[in-house]
Amino acid sequence: MPTGSAFFLAITFLMSLAALWVFIYALMKGQFLVSQKQAKVIFDPGELGQVEDPAHSRQKPETNPFEKSSVELDDYAKERRELDLSGRRSVLIFFSSSIFWLVLASVFGLLVSLKFHWPEFLSDNQYLTFGRLRPLHLTMVTYGWMSMAGMGACLWLIPRLTRKALVGEKYCFIGSIIWNVGVLLGSICLFFGISEGVEWLEYPWYVDLIIATAGGLAAIPAIKTVIARTESHIYVSLWYILGGFLWFPMLFVVANIPGVHFGVEHAIANWWFAHNVLGLWLTPLGLAIAYYLIPKVIGRPIFSYQLSLVGFWGLAFFYAQVGMHHLIGGPIPTWLANLSIVMSVGMVVPVVAVAINHHVTMVGHFKKLIYSPTLRFVVFGAMMYTLSSLQGCLHALRTFNTVSHFTHWTVSHAHLGAYGFTTMVLFAAIYFILPRVLEKEWPFPEMISLHFWGAFVGIIIYVISTGVGGWLQGLELTDPSSTFQNSVLVTIPYLVARSLGGTLMVGAHIIFLVHVVCMFLGSRKSGDGPAFLNRPDLKERAADHV
């Protein structure tokens, strides 16, 4: 088989031709004919300008919309209630288990953080050694918290956006249980040091099979419901959801296939997977939620809906090729590193498109952040998406990468994205969705506030401390007149600060868990008033015209 550069050039040329043909075909079929009209599909008649968080619009103010005996909903509200409840089982299992994994994973993260500047901490025990808790933390937040909370949110979003009750709900119900089995089994394996040894892919192959099966089961209702939709336009959130459910399985299978990868190529496949799991799985989950919650809560459609096409297809094209920026300067072909650097900078295009849509939409509505819990989490999360993505475009450039590579700076960036963006947006989703599937209200708005501030201050401390510490570390690592010892010692105060930030985050998560348990156990219905922050006068009102 010829392997010269002419052959590879020919392959890429043919693929570009095919892509161009499909693009023109899609253009002819009117796929890109979207305008502000399509942005409004998320609103029922009369909802524009109304705030939904978590007040239920369109019911008479004096009736309690969640009490089954006295429901006086109009037809739209009745239909919406049924759609919201159609995936109830799966959403509840995914959400509640994800929160459990979040707390456990955060505790492991804190233990790991402490070990950096207190190496003797729990070091006598082989099950609690750094090298085992660290991958436990990473896999648990990825597969336990973010993936499951994300899937729960998707299974709730899809019926709302397609105006069709979840088709084949039993599949995702079974999937939600099996996914948990996979994460549990994988975590036990990692405790015992049974690991594939590859970052982000540590789970043994049999656990991978369990998770892949569960993911497939969860995807079936997602895809079937969108195909059976009664709303003809596919809202932007659904592009991301469909994309994520398509890309993640392919990434997972290719990266995990045994007996194919070798040597340095294995590292290439590793980082193709690991970076794409962020941009083609977690990012779509987060953006799908943000694209729905921001406009829906404030009652205003997305600012420039046509830009969302640029955001989505830009992500699809550029992001998939950025993975090799993890191996700049490593034993890989130069053209490969350069390709990923170029594509990383190219990401500015979709990121700015999404930023315009998320942030400009909020202009004139920032006051609502004072009293809407969902909005606080999702707007902050959306801002951190913009920030961490632009940071990524920057430190993919060789001048920056030389310093930041191999340091805590990368960890800072990872947490800015995975926590500052994805996790915060998932919190927003849970605060918005859980009342609608449990038909109860959050009992203690003060706990939501504590959760927000703990997470907010925590992540800011975390990102700044590891960012500064990492950068200083990198300056030492690239200074021939310095020593490795210096590169370690210079980070210590920042690692201590990171543990402080991490402690706040763990505390916030425990408060969150307790609040969720109280909500499950309690009986506070929305007649007691929706869980707004800081606006007791609004507790009586069904809708707001701010």
Partner: protein, 203 residues
């Protein structure tokens, strides 16, 4: 977007382009590269040690990829020459690493060839490197009253030695050290051009 089918075709194409560019083509380019002729395959013990390295998660703090002198102090600190693909021919899974909380280990078998040093360092890193933040691995060792024939005893400084007992290396510790000592990737790279394409690191 109004068609699931077209959305999927588009998403598959963008994914496919990346798959070809980042997986297929590098696979085809790197596959023909032979192992470095100076690179010895791992012995049974070294492979056991490598498995221990994976099980203990050493890869999360240590890299095994040396950078070019133009982009780091690696060469100035004696860490070796830039790594090439042929160095990793016998490595599965790869252990290139992503963090340098600890130093790069590609040439640790050359920089520190002393088995006793490594055993002391694993038992408690601060017994040989006062400023180290590496965890201790006492569970790779056992304490005894007196040595039996064949035991490798640790000569610990007094303040790190347990009261009244001696510390003996378990087979897992010896295997791990054997693996570390096998990492001697400072040999000259084969004259043969690594691949048709220029690499990030030219040795």
């Amino acid at each position: 977007m109004y068609s699931v089918r077209l959305l999927y075709i588009g998403a598959l194409i963008t994914f496919g382009v990346a798959f070809v560019a980042l997986i297929v083509i590098p696979f085809m380019q790197l596959r023909p590269i032979p192992p470095e002729s100076n690179l010895k395959p791992y012995t049974e013990q070294e492979l056991r040690g490598r498995a221990e390295y994976i099980s203990q998660g050493c890869v999360y703090c240590h890299t095994q990829q040396v950078r070019d002198p133009s982009i780091g102090a690696d060469a100035a600190w004696g860490w070796g020459r830039p790594s090439v693909p042929g160095d990793y021919a016998y490595d599965y899974p790869h252990l290139l690493g992503t963090m340098r909380t600890g130093p790069d280990l590609s040439t640790i078998g050359v920089r520190q060839p002393n088995e006793q040093w490594h055993l002391l360092h694993l038992y408690n890193p601060r017994s040989v490197v006062s400023w180290s933040i590496m965890p201790s691995y006492p569970f790779l060792f056992e304490e005894k009253k007196e040595a039996e024939p064949g035991d490798i005893v640790l000569h610990l400084p007094k303040e790190f030695a347990p009261e009244g007992n001696i510390v003996v290396a378990k087979p897992s510790a010896l295997d791990l050290v054997a693996y570390l000592l096998s990492l001697k990737r400072n040999f000259p790279v084969d004259d043969v051009k690594q691949s048709e394409t220029s690499m990030e690191e030219q040795p």
